[in-house]
Amino acid sequence: MSTKIQRLADIDRVIHEPARLMIVALLAAVEEADFQYLRQTTGLTQGNLSAHLSKLEEAGYVAIEKTFRGKYPLTICRLTDRGKDVLDRYRKIIKAAL
């Protein structure tokens, strides 16, 4: 049991932050989503969401693509394979520790 709790020290700090965990969890549940959907669903402000997405993109967990749907600009975000692996590992560590 103690080793399981000790594994918490290995947890990924980028994902462990609550707002980023929400974003990553949401992106893992869908194929892709745009900035507006993430903002509406998480309840984060534009600035906050933008900052967290930048961190996730820097870490290579989220891929961001700017495009248009008609005249409407879309900032589409999707979880990368690396992001999926990190979330999977995070899931296992939390499940074992709780």
Partner: protein, 224 residues
């Protein structure tokens, strides 16, 4: 941020995603409007079955339409909601592409539901037929009153659990109350179910329309 950070860190990421997505799904009232229209259509078809004589073209057409309503709505409603959101509400609700449906899993769920429904129906028929003529439950087991009250309460519980918010709880309580009221009134089962389905449809339609109007009145923020 509306979520409590400590709660988030104690929760499975899948549970977080499901909860947030369900909240987002119900935010614009479209799913309620769709289910309201479905129940109103079902009530209208049931009413037609009361009006037309069994064997007439109207009776047959309404019966078949009623049978086909479930599958058509089951597959068509999510598609229609997605189309309306993408066409008219994308600036407010944003864009999301859900993961493709797992066809094998869906087929298994449909097969299990079909088997459970068939076994339950056969078991109930067998229980009623096998009961002695004067068994205390023989007359009341599937009586109109029990069916109406049960359907109202079951509908209320399903409505409340589908949204898990105050408006869904209110609709659930109202449905249970209508079901119990109909059980004590002297309406026939067919008419009672028509009224009950109509009430479910009307309540969902009104609730969904109010939510949609309030949602549309919220100011939009510029896209990124």
């Amino acid at each position: 941020m509306t979520e409590s950070p400590s709660r988030l860190l104690e929760e499975n990421p899948d549970a977080i995603a499901n909860r947030l997505m369900q909240k987002a799904h119900n935010r614009d009232g479209l799913p309620e409007i769709a289910s309201g229209l479905t129940f109103l259509t079902a009530a209208a078809l049931m009413w037609l079955q009361v009006v037309f004589h069994p064997g007439s073209f109207g009776f047959e057409a309404s019966s078949w339409s009623f049978i086909l309503l479930g599958p058509v709505v089951g597959f068509g409603s999510p598609w229609a909601i997605k189309k309306v959101r993408r066409r008219f509400l994308i600036e407010r609700v944003g864009y999301v592409e859900l993961k493709p449906v797992n066809r094998e899993r869906t087929a298994v769920v449909i097969a299990i539901a079909f088997v459970v429904a068939a076994v339950t129906a056969v078991a109930v028929m067998f229980a009623v037929e096998a009961a002695p003529p004067h068994a205390p439950y023989r007359g009341s087991f599937l009586s109109s009153s029990w069916m109406l009250a049960g359907t109202g309460i079951l509908g209320g519980v399903l409505a409340a659990s589908s949204g898990r918010s105050l408006r869904y709880y209110s609709v659930g309580v109202l449905l249970a109350a209508i079901g119990i009221f109909l059980a004590f009134s002297r309406v026939s089962l067919q008419m009672g179910l028509t009224i009950l389905f109509g009430s479910i449809g009307l309540l969902s339609l009104i609730s969904g329309s109010i939510v949609l109007l309030l949602f549309l009145r919220q100011p939009t923020e510029p896209a990124q």
